[in-house]
Symmetry: C2
Subunit: 270 residues, 2 copies
C-alpha cells in the first residue's frame, strides 16, 4: 500500500485553508415520509437541507451526509441537488455510510456513492482488508476518491467493540481495538480516521500511533458534550458538528461561532 495523500485529502486541505475553517457539517436532518404526503414531506426536507447548507457554506470545510438524509431523498434523486450545490462552491462531500460489507457489495457501495458525486466514504475497518476494505479502497483509488476509517465512536456502547482488548495474531500482549484500527489506517493508506471528541485521550493515543499522518475527524463536539479545545489539543484535525448547527435557530451564526471557537483554540496551541 503506497501511502501518498489522495486527491481527496488534498481537496480537504485546500477547502479548509481557503475557507479558514475546520468544521465538517453533519447534515443529519430527517423526516418520515407518510404515503399520503410523500412528495411534500420530501420537498420540505430538501428545502431545509439546502437552506442549512446555504447559511453555513462559507463557514464549513466539508459536508457530511448520513442515511437519515440519504434514504428519504434518494441517492440519484433529490440528493443530487444537495451534492450539486456543494460542488458549485467546491465543498467536498463525504458519505458516512460506515461501509462494512464484503467483496462485490462493498465495490458497488463505493461505486454508486462516487458515481453520484461523493468525494469520500466512511468505512468500518472491523471488516478486515481482503474482500472487505480492499475493494472499497481499490474503487476509491480508481476514481481519485477518499476512504475514511472509523477508529473510536462517540456513543456509550463504543467501549464494547472499539474499546475492547484484543490479542493480535502472534502476540500475547493485548491491545485496545482502536489502536489496532489506527495501525491499519496507516498500513492501508486511509485518508482519515474518525475518533469521538468525547475521548480526547484516545485522539492523542491514535495520533501517536499514526504519527500524525492520518487526519483525525472528530464527532461529538457540542450536543454530545465533547470539548473543542481539548479535541484539537489532542490532535483532531476536523470537527464534525451536526445538531449544534442544524438545530440552531440561526445555523449560519452557529457554524461561524463554531469555526471561530476552533480557530481561537488552534491559535492558542501555537
Amino acid at each position: 500500500m503506497v501511502n501518498k495523500p489522495s486527491s481527496f485529502r488534498k481537496m480537504m486541505e485546500t477547502s479548509s485553508l481557503n475557507r479558514k475553517t475546520r468544521v465538517v457539517l453533519a447534515l443529519d436532518i430527517s423526516t418520515r415520509l407518510p404515503k399520503e404526503n410523500r412528495g411534500n414531506a420530501r420537498g420540505d426536507l430538501l428545502e431545509r437541507a439546502l437552506f442549512t447548507l446555504e447559511q453555513t457554506n462559507e463557514h464549513i470545510a466539508a459536508l457530511k451526509i448520513n442515511h437519515q438524509l440519504l434514504l428519504p431523498l434518494g441517492l440519484y434523486d433529490l440528493m443530487q441537488e444537495i451534492i450539486s450545490k456543494a460542488k458549485s462552491s467546491s465543498l467536498p462531500v463525504i458519505m458516512d455510510c460506515k461501509a462494512n460489507d464484503v467483496e462485490h457489495t462493498n465495490r458497488w457501495i463505493a461505486r454508486h456513492y462516487f458515481d453520484a458525486g461523493f468525494d469520500a466514504i466512511i468505512a468500518n475497518p472491523f471488516v478486515g482488508w481482503e474482500g472487505g476494505i480492499q475493494p472499497l479502497m481499490s474503487e476509491a483509488r480508481e476514481q481519485g476518491k477518499g476512504v475514511i476509517l472509523l477508529a473510536y465512536m462517540s456513543h456509550p456502547g463504543a467501549t464494547e467493540g472499539y474499546g475492547q482488548q484484543v490479542l493480535p495474531t502472534n502476540s500475547t500482549k493485548p491491545q485496545p481495538q482502536y489502536l489496532l484500527f489506527a495501525q491499519k489506517a496507516v498500513k492501508w493508506g486511509a485518508d482519515g480516521v474518525v475518533v469521538g471528541a468525547t475521548y480526547p485521550d484516545k485522539i492523542r493515543e491514535i495520533n501517536d500511533v499514526t504519527e500524525g499522518k492520518v487526519p483525525i475527524y472528530s464527532p461529538g463536539i457540542g450536543a454530545q458534550g465533547g470539548d473543542i479545545s481539548e479535541a484539537f489539543r489532542a490532535g483532531c484535525k476536523y470537527a464534525i458538528v451536526g445538531r449544534a448547527i442544524f438545530e440552531s435557530e440561526d445555523p449560519g451564526k452557529s457554524a461561524r461561532d463554531t469555526k471561530d471557537k476552533i480557530n481561537k483554540a488552534l491559535k492558542e496551541l501555537k
Copy 2:
C-alpha cells in the same frame, strides 16, 4: 431483554413452512447509472429484479436486499415496486444494511427501512448495545419488525475482526469475537444471526452458544464455495443464496434446485 420470538421470526417460519423452502434470495444485482441514460438504466435494473423475483418467488422463503440494488433504485422510489411485489405474495423482505451507526442515526435507519416496507434489518453487533443496537431494537419492537445480527462473515478478511481473540471485561481468558457476538445475540433478543456457510465449524460453535435459540442465516453457499449439507448439518436454518440463482440463465430452475438440494439434505439429517 425479553427473548420472545418477534412477529418477524414467526413470519419467517410461516413463510418457510408454507413454501417448503429454506432459501433466502439475495437479489444483489446492480448497474451503473450514467447521467445521459439514467432513466433507462434504472428501468432495466428494476425489470431484471422483478423478473428474477417472479421466476424464483415460489422457491424462496424471503427476499434480501442490499445497497447495490437499493442505491440505484431509491428506497421510496423504484424499490417500492419490488417490496410491493414481495408483499403481494406474503414474502418477508430483509434489508441487509449492516447497520453500525449510533443513537439517532441508527433509529432513523431502522425507521426509514421499516416505514418503507422492510420486515427486518441486518446490523453489526460490534457497535455495542447502548446508543448502538439498542435504538435499532427499540424501533424494531415498536413496529413489530426484526433485527438480525452479523456473527461471522464469509470473506477472507473475516478472520481479522470476526475471528480475532478478545479479552472480555473481567476475564483473563480470551474468546473468539464471533462467540461473544453469539452471546450478545441471545442477550439482546436478536431475531437471527448471520454466519458464513464457508465456516461450518463456526456455525456449529455459534449454534451451541445460542442453544439453537437464534435462527442462523448462512451466505456463501454456491458461488463462494460453501457446502449446503455441511451448513445445515451444523445448524444453519436459512441459506442466503445470491449469484448462484440470479446469475443463472434460468433463475427459477436454480432456485428450485437449491431448495430441493437443501430439503434433501434436511431429510437425511432426520
